[in-house]
C-alpha cells in the first residue's frame, strides 16, 4: 500500500467515524425528545398535511357548506366491543372517534353497535368564548337503540378539527344539562385537531376563547338569527384565519407581496446561475463530505 493509498484509507475511516458520530447524536436526540416531551401525535418530521377547507353545516359568508356525518354498524363478538374507528368523510376528518377493543360497557346479549357522527345545530351557546366549527353529535347504541358508555380506563378519544388552522387554544366541550362542559383537551399539532378522552357521548364542540370574529348580525355570530329548521343552521363563527372575502378581487398588498417575492426569486436565480466553476456533484458518486479526497 503506497502512502497516497494509506492516506485515502485513513480519510475514509475518519469520514465514516464522523458519519457514525453524527448518526449517534441524532439518535440520542430523537430518543431524548420522545422520552422527555413526546409530541401528542406520532412522527412529525414533515409531510403534507392534507387540510381542506372546513365544511360547515350552515356556512358563514365566504365559507364552504357540506358538513357530513357518518354511521357505522359493527358486530360484537364474544361480549366485548370491537375496535371503533369512525370519522367523518373529509380528507382531514372534522370529527373522529377512536376506541380500542373492549372499551365499551356492554349489556349482556349485545350483538352490534351502531356508531353515528352527525353535525347538528348548537343547542346552546357558550357563556365564555365562542363556538369554533360545527357541533357534532356522537352516539353509540346497541341493536335495541340503547346507548352505551365507555370505560374510563379505556381512554376513548374524540377528535374535532378547528376551522381555524392556526388555532392553539381551543377546548373541547360536551353538552351536559343544556350547558357546555369543558373536557381536558390536547392539541395534536397537525391540522388544528384537538383531542379529548371521553366516557359518555352526546354533542361535542370546540370553544375558543374571546369574542367571535364574526360581525354582529351575521349568520355565524348570532344564534338567534341563525336557527331555523333543517340542516341549514349556522353552527359557529367565521374562523379567524379563514378568508372572509367580502369583496371580490385580489388585495393590493397581496399583489405587492407577490411582485416583491418574484423579484427576490429572480435575483436569487441570477445569483445561482452566475458563471462559476462548477464542481459536478451527484446523489452518490462524489467525494465524501469533510474530505477533499476523491473516492476510488
Amino acid at each position: 500500500m503506497g502512502p497516497r493509498t494509506a492516506t485515502r484509507a485513513r480519510g475514509a475511516i475518519a469520514d465514516r467515524r464522523i458519519a457514525l458520530v453524527t448518526l449517534a447524536a441524532g439518535l440520542v436526540g430523537i430518543v431524548a425528545v420522545q422520552l422527555l416531551g413526546p409530541l401528542p401525535t406520532p412522527p412529525l418530521y414533515d409531510g403534507v398535511v392534507p387540510v381542506e377547507a372546513y365544511l360547515w353545516l350552515n356556512p358563514p359568508p365566504g365559507e364552504h357548506a357540506g358538513a357530513q356525518g357518518k354511521t357505522v354498524t359493527l358486530p360484537v363478538q364474544g361480549g366485548s366491543s370491537p375496535l371503533i374507528a369512525v370519522a367523518t368523510p373529509e380528507l382531514t376528518p372534522q370529527a373522529q372517534i377512536f376506541a380500542q377493543p373492549g372499551a365499551m360497557i356492554l349489556a349482556p346479549g349485545t350483538k352490534s353497535l351502531t356508531v353515528t357522527i352527525t353535525p347538528v345545530p348548537p343547542d346552546a351557546q357558550p357563556t365564555v368564548g365562542h363556538l369554533a366549527g360545527n357541533v357534532y353529535r356522537i352516539t353509540i347504541v346497541d341493536q335495541s337503540g340503547a346507548p352505551v358508555s365507555a370505560l374510563a380506563s379505556a381512554e376513548v378519544s374524540v377528535s374535532l378539527r378547528d376551522p381555524n388552522l392556526t388555532a392553539s387554544e381551543a377546548t373541547m366541550n360536551r353538552l351536559s344539562n343544556g350547558a357546555w362542559a369543558p373536557l381536558k383537551t390536547d392539541a395534536s399539532g397537525l391540522g388544528a385537531i384537538f383531542n379529548a378522552v371521553v366516557t359518555d357521548f352526546g354533542d361535542f364542540v370546540l370553544i375558543e376563547p374571546g369574542e367571535s370574529p364574526t360581525p354582529a348580525g351575521s349568520p355565524g355570530a348570532s344564534p338567534g338569527a341563525t336557527e331555523s329548521a333543517g340542516p341549514t343552521v349556522s353552527t359557529g363563527p367565521i374562523p379567524s384565519a379563514a378568508p372572509v372575502a367580502p369583496e371580490p378581487g385580489i388585495p393590493t398588498v397581496t399583489i405587492a407581496a407577490a411582485i416583491a417575492t418574484a423579484l427576490v426569486l429572480v435575483a436569487l436565480l441570477a445569483l445561482a446561475l452566475w458563471p462559476r466553476r462548477r464542481k459536478r456533484q451527484t446523489w452518490g458518486d462524489r467525494p465524501r463530505s469533510g474530505s477533499r479526497r476523491r473516492r476510488r
Binding site: D15, L20, P38, A87
Partner: protein, 196 residues
C-alpha cells in the same frame, strides 16, 4: 458608470445565504397560501415541492440516479425513524381514518416535498457549507434550518424533534456520501404518518 463586480470568493460565500433566503421565502409563501386558504393543501404542497426542486436545480443540484448503496442506507434510516415513533406511541396507534382513495396523490406529493427538501438542505446547501465551513457546520446549519422551516405550519413544539431528526438525516448524508439516503429516509418517515 462602471459595473460592480463581485469577487468570486464573495460570490461563493453569498450562495449559501442566497439559498437559505430562497428556502425561507418559499416556506413563507407556502405558509401564507395555506393559512390564506388560496388552494387545497395538496396543490399547495405540489407547488411547494416544485419550487424547492427548482431552487435546488438552480443552485446546481443535478438530478441523477442514486448510487445503489444509498438505497439500503436510506431504507434503514427511515425504518429507524418510523420504529422510534411507533415505540414512543405504543397504545395510541389506530388505523388511518382518512379516505383510502386520497392516499396515492397524497403520497406522491409527500415524496416530492421530502425529496425536494433534502435536495436543497442535504444537497446544495450542505455541499456549499461543507466546502466553506466544514462538515460540523454543514450538519448543524442544515439541521437548524430543517427544524425552523417546519415551525410556520406545525408550531415551535416540533423544533427539538425536527432538530434531532435533521442531525440523523445529516448522518445518513455523511454515511452514504450523497443526498439519496436522507431523501429515502425522510420520505419513508413522512409516508408513515398516514398510518401512524
Amino acid at each position: 458608470m462602471t459595473a460592480v463586480s463581485i469577487p468570486a470568493a464573495s460570490r461563493a460565500g453569498l450562495r449559501p445565504v442566497a439559498l437559505a433566503i430562497g428556502l425561507v421565502l418559499v416556506v413563507g409563501l407556502r405558509w401564507a397560501a395555506t393559512v390564506g386558504a388560496f388552494s387545497d393543501a395538496l396543490t399547495i404542497g405540489l407547488a411547494f415541492g416544485l419550487a424547492l426542486l427548482g431552487l435546488a436545480v438552480a443552485f446546481g443540484q443535478p438530478i441523477v440516479r442514486p448510487r445503489a448503496s444509498s438505497i439500503p442506507i436510506g431504507l434503514g434510516g427511515g425504518a429507524v425513524l418510523v420504529a422510534l415513533a411507533v415505540v414512543a406511541h405504543l397504545g395510541q396507534l389506530g388505523p388511518s381514518l382518512a379516505p383510502a382513495a386520497a392516499f396515492l396523490p397524497w403520497a406522491g406529493i409527500t415524496v416530492l416535498v421530502a425529496t425536494s427538501e433534502e435536495l436543497v438542505l442535504r444537497g446544495v446547501l450542505f455541499q456549499a457549507l461543507d466546502r466553506r465551513l466544514g462538515v460540523a457546520a454543514a450538519v448543524l446549519a442544515t439541521s437548524v434550518l430543517f427544524a425552523l422551516i417546519h415551525v410556520p405550519l406545525y408550531g415551535w413544539h416540533v423544533v427539538p424533534l425536527d432538530l434531532a431528526v435533521g442531525i440523523w438525516l445529516g448522518g445518513l448524508r455523511l454515511l452514504s456520501g450523497g443526498v439519496a439516503a436522507p431523501s429515502i429516509a425522510h420520505a419513508l418517515a413522512d409516508l408513515a404518518t398516514w398510518w401512524l
